[in-house]
């Protein structure tokens, strides 16, 4: 595996991973809103 592939693949994968984490937070908020019957914006 060449360094340039690891470099480009690595950076893009980290951002993709963080995007997934962002998505997991949004999914968490959505599930919470469903379970509590509140709107996402008013979870508190």
């Amino acid at each position: 595996m060449s360094a340039s592939v690891v470099f480009i693949g690595g950076i893009s994968s980290v951002f993709f991973g963080m995007g997934l984490l962002y998505l997991s937070i949004k999914i968490t908020a959505m599930i919470t809103a469903r379970l509590t019957g509140k709107r996402k914006e008013n979870l508190s």
């Binding site: 595996m1 360094a3 690891v6 470099f7 690595g10 993709f16 963080m18 962002y22 997991s24 908020a29």
Partner: protein, 373 residues
């Protein structure tokens, strides 16, 4: 009589002393001094320093394969990947993901700060390190000790001691290294930007998050499973509120025990022959560069996000994207309050700071996946 005396002397370590061993004693004692006198990461640098002394006592046999006590600690604790995941269990039990859940867009600052890892990886390879060593040196830029140890033990165990000491040293020096970069890369007006008030995060949300993120992250980067699974389990202990004893054990007893068994064998890998090489100096220099670049790229990403957002982010928060928790967040808060005494950034900075931990784990997982497949 003389021959008996000669053979008696030969059974002691004194006759095997070399200048290299003496230099390693000085390094070990220096780490112990920094830990005790300067309070630089004492929990790790003190046992590492002592481990260096032990590894450089001739004939002690502590690191003799299959037999030595410290070799057993190293083999079954670090090489078998037991200790770093247990440390992540403790970190999870300590970590409040609330700031991250309240401001999810700040997650990307944790990714921006990983750029230093990859830039340094590229630079290290260009300087002649092999690809495995370059990845291990690059990960120092994430400023995450356990992840550095985890990756080094898997792909470049010969660099474990140097990389671990570099990572923990730079983590201890966050208040010295980061502020000049932060001031250089931001204007006074940017440092005064006040963040919008965060919403309150419910308990249910905090319980669901470790479950949801465990599934998603491990499905994406399976190699990060040992660290992420333990991090999230520890966090579930914390947030569930029903296993207080387990939470306290993970935060205190377990964490303290594994810290002892982590530090001493890491120090013990640093014998004079392995450590006193020119490339160790390059490791420290490149590690410092990685850390500085990570700080800078985190700030740059915050500025970039401001170009496309109506809700402005204080760019200082980008510097918290390195994973030295909570030191980097505290430094952001300190530099922010220097510009405006009423600008409290600590809680906001904890978001990217925690994201930085996960980002570094993902970066290490990607290295493992790409380089060992």
């Amino acid at each position: 009589m003389t021959s008996h005396l000669t053979s008696l002397v030969k059974t002691t370590g004194f006759v095997y002393l070399t200048p290299g061993i003496i230099v390693m004693w000085v390094i070990g004692l220096a780490l112990i001094y920094l830990a005790i006198k300067k309070d630089y990461e004492p929990l790790l640098l003190l046992p590492i320093g002592f481990g260096i002394l032990l590894a450089n006592l001739p004939l002690s046999g502590l690191m003799t394969p299959e037999e030595g006590l410290l070799w057993k600690f190293y083999e079954y604790g670090i090489h078998w990947e037991i200790i770093p995941p247990i440390i992540f269990l403790g970190i999870g039990a300590f970590t409040d993901f609330g700031p991250l859940l309240a401001n999810p867009r700040l997650i990307f600052l944790g990714a921006g700060a990983q750029a230093g890892v990859y830039i340094t990886f590229f630079a290290a390879q260009a300087m002649g390190f092999d690809i495995m060593e370059a990845a291990t040196i690059g990960i120092i830029g994430g400023a995450d000790g356990p992840t550095t140890i985890f990756l080094a033990s898997k792909i470049a165990p010969q660099l474990l001691g140097a990389c671990a000491v570099a990572a923990y040293s730079y983590m201890a020096m966050v208040p010295i290294i980061q502020p000049p970069i932060m001031r250089l890369m931001t204007t006074e007006a940017e440092r005064k930007i006040k963040m919008a008030k965060s919403r309150k995060v419910t308990k249910l949300e905090k319980i669901l998050f470790p479950l949801v993120s465990t599934f998603l992250i491990i499905l994406l980067v399976p190699a990060s499973a040992p660290l992420i699974s333990m991090l999230m389990l520890g966090n579930l202990f914390r947030e569930s509120g029903v296993v207080e004893r387990l939470k306290h054990a993970a935060q205190n007893e377990l964490m303290n025990i594994v810290t002892i068994f982590l530090g001493v064998p890491i120090g013990a890998t640093m014998n004079a022959e392995a450590f006193l090489q020119p490339k160790v100096i390059f490791i420290f220099v490149l590690g410092l560069c990685a850390f500085m670049i990570s700080t800078a790229t985190g700030i740059l990403l915050a500025k970039l996000m401001n170009l496309f957002s109506t809700k402005k982010i204080n760019p200082l928060l980008g510097a918290a994207g390195v994973s030295a928790v909570p030191m980097a967040a505290r430094v952001v808060h300190k530099v922010g309050t220097e510009a405006d005494k009423k600008n409290y950034l600590l809680m906001y900075a904890m978001g990217p700071n925690v994201a930085g931990v996960i980002g570094t784990v993902i970066a290490a997982g990607i290295f493992l996946t790409l380089l060992t497949s």
